[in-house]
């Protein structure tokens, strides 16, 4: 029994690491919004799902035209990030901003709105996919270039090429985000709004614009994570995201709300737990 567990352990840890990168990117979107608005953005799981659906659609339509799988993935990542970020901005503009303008102090009001938005987005995507392809379960098209695998440590770990791509892309995104938040003017403004919205606005920062940008950044991160998730795990549907993406929602709360590496550690813990418990207990 113990030997069996030990023999699958390296694989489980590696799978957990890969899934953890996806969760980390999603969790960062939650945390950034929580940082500036103190709102658990339930709709973020749907932003993530929109990224995944866009990835599937790009692969479906452009795979015959685009010669290189890597170029195709790049297009999918850009489009997925852009559309998901755009949706996040729209959600902020039309659902959360009116509440903020009215100055509601009740914490339940934005939270319930977020749940409502999450449901609306789920069914909108389902409706669009239903009208477009009459499909509910979407499958990512496989592309030759991106399918490959090798074994490490004498077969202890089975590695797919796309897992490596996933890790590389998310590393770039996470490093980029760290640079953006810590070194740029926009990052300073975001941190200022997160610390104290009214004081920040006295210092010449337009909070609405910064909040909108925060949603854009968090949303695009979520969208890119969605495309990578679809690439790695291949099946997607409109309502599924609220399960995997509500799992990263605890980590931001464990790790505090600042834009820090905290949520990443939370995400890796919960992802490793998930992959390691999956073989033994069905969910």
């Amino acid at each position: 029994m113990l030997e069996q567990i030990l023999s699958i352990l390296p694989q489980v840890i590696f799978d957990g690491l890969v899934l953890g990168f996806v969760y980390a990117m999603v969790a960062l979107g939650y945390t950034m919004v929580y940082g500036v608005l103190e709102l658990i953005n339930f709709a973020h799981s749907e932003i993530f799902m929109i990224g995944a659906v866009v990835g599937v659609e790009v692969f479906r339509y452009l795979a015959p035209q685009v010669p290189s799988g890597f170029l195709l993935l790049l297009i999918a990542l850009l489009l997925g990030g852009a559309l998901a970020g755009g949706t996040a901005i729209l959600v902020e503009r039309f659902a959360y901003r009116p509440l903020r303008k009215r100055g509601t102090t009740n914490r339940l009001v934005p939270l319930i709105t977020a749940i409502g938005v999450s449901f609306i987005l789920q069914d909108l995507v389902r409706l669009i996919e239903g009208l477009w392809h009459n499909e509910f379960f979407l499958r990512m098209r496989t592309v030759e270039d991106l399918e490959g695998s090798f074994e490490l440590f004498g077969g202890a770990i089975f590695v797919q090429t796309k897992s490596l791509i996933l890790i590389a892309v998310s590393m770039v995104m996470l490093v980029g985000l760290t640079y953006l938040v810590n070194r740029t003017k926009l990052g300073v403004a975001i941190r200022a709004v997160a610390q104290d919205l009214s004081t920040a606005s006295l210092m010449g920062i337009d909070p609405d614009r910064i909040i909108s940008r925060t949603f854009l950044i968090g949303g695009s991160l979520g969208g890119v994570a969605g495309v990578l998730f679809a690439l790695q795990y291949t099946t997607v549907n409109a309502t599924w995201a609220s399960c995997p993406a509500s799992r990263p929602s605890p980590p931001p709360s464990w790790a505090g709300s600042a834009t820090s590496p905290g949520p990443c550690w939370g995400a890796w813990c919960s992802a490793s737990w998930k992959t390691s418990s999956a073989p033994t207990c069905p969910s």
Partner: protein, 389 residues
């Protein structure tokens, strides 16, 4: 032909909405003498609805569903509306109540106990009492760790624990089969209704095999709602009700006035849970079938949407919210999709309005929060708070 069918169905729908409208007007309009309210209300609930039900049994089904959801909305109203604790896992208590009777009122209990199972149907009344205890205990178990948190943290924790209950129900079919897993438990015993039949025969009402249980459960649910409203009104005006509202308004101030926070919140949680548990027993017996699918996050959010639509903290509001959403869900959307299907047959079946209840609930939640956060029939204190903010 299809068009007349559509007209007939929408006629039914309009009639139902009209009935609910009259009931709402009776409870909310000022300057109607109390005896007119009571008399008209009872006449509608005890005469018009059953008469319509004999013509079309769907009305009974609708009435029972509205009743079950209304009682649960009233229970959640205690937790969310009065005490201000956002509970996103409320369906868990409904599940505990339903499974309490389903396990012992079917052959399921033979898997782990000796004795004569299923228990005879009369035991359902006893189990309504037992369900109060089991769900209140579940409320205590979930509440003890969760209620130390506030606001959104509490919401996330209750969401998680609510899912835990559903997943337990889904997976407790091995090693010992308690819940029969995803297949669910069926058949669950119903109480025998010979006495009820003869009573109705004395009153000159003829019942047949399809309507007798429907009428019985309809009246049972009405009775339960009456009880629940009575308890609710008395609670709202009691020491506990005032303590809950105080906690909702300002936790720190309430504490400094000597209200013990955790016990008071726990009491709200357990009271809400108990309402839901009793209705769970009735739900299990009425459908004779229980499966984990009925207790998903969507069910919890549906009940929450009812409370919010009616107005947090308002008793007539919770009932109105339950009626409106249930009619919307079971009748209006179905009628509309039938209309779409017959008028535009080229549209794929994936795009069936009846399948888009989430979209409708989401829109209701968002629009209510933006334009009327105090609800359709707001509670007095809540309205002033929302306007002030």
């Amino acid at each position: 032909m299809a068009f007349t069918l559509g007209l007939q169905r929408s006629g039914n729908t309009l009639g139902l909405i009209g009935l609910v409208g009259i009931l709402v007007a009776l409870t909310t309009l000022p300057r109607i003498p109390t005896w007119v309210r009571v008399l008209l209300g009872l006449a509608i609930l005890l005469l018009s609805v059953p008469i319509a039900g004999f013509a079309n049994t769907f009305v009974f089904e609708l009435g029972i569903q509205i009743g079950i959801y209304a009682a649960m909305a009233l229970g959640l109203n205690v937790v969310v509306g009065m005490a201000g604790l956002l509970d996103l896992g409320y369906a868990a208590f409904f599940a505990v109540g339903a499974y309490t009777w389903a396990i012992f009122g079917s052959e399921q209990a033979r898997n782990f106990m000796r004795g004569h199972f299923p228990l005879p149907g009369e035991y359902m009344y006893l189990f309504m009492g037992i369900a109060v205890v089991t769900t209140a205990l579940t409320g205590l178990l979930i509440g003890l760790p969760a209620l130390r948190l506030r606001g959104d943290y509490l919401a996330i924790v209750t969401l998680g624990l609510g899912e835990v209950v559903r997943i337990l129900a889904n997976n407790l079919d091995h090693p010992i089969n308690f819940t029969n897993g995803p297949q669910g438990i069926t058949p669950v015993m119903r109480p025998p209704i010979d006495g009820f039949r003869s009573l109705m025969a004395h009153l000159g009402v003829r019942l047949d095999q399809t309507t007798d249980y429907q009428l019985f459960f309809y009246l049972l649910v009405l009775l339960m709602i009456g009880l629940v409203v009575l308890v609710n009104v008395n609670l709202a005006n009691s020491r506990f009700g005032r303590a809950w509202v105080a906690i909702r308004e300002d936790e720190v101030a309430a504490r400094s006035m000597g209200i013990p926070l955790l016990p008071t919140k726990l009491l709200a949680f357990m009271t809400g849970a108990a309402f839901s548990g009793v209705m769970g027993v009735i739900f299990a017996a009425q459908r004779t079938f229980v499966s984990p699918e009925s207790f998903t996050l969507l069910a919890s959010i549906t009940i929450l949407a009812m409370v919010i639509l009616g107005g947090m903290g308002s008793i007539p509001g919770a009932i109105l919210g339950a009626a409106a959403l249930t009619i919307l869900n079971l009748d209006v959307l179905k009628t509309f999709s039938e209309f779409v299907r017959t008028s535009f047959p080229q549209i794929p079946s994936q795009v069936d309005p009846a399948k888009y209840e989430r979209l409708v609930f989401g829109l209701i939640l968002v629009l209510m929060m933006i334009f009327r956060p105090e609800g359709l029939i707001p509670e007095r204190r809540h309205r002033s708070e929302m306007e002030e903010a």
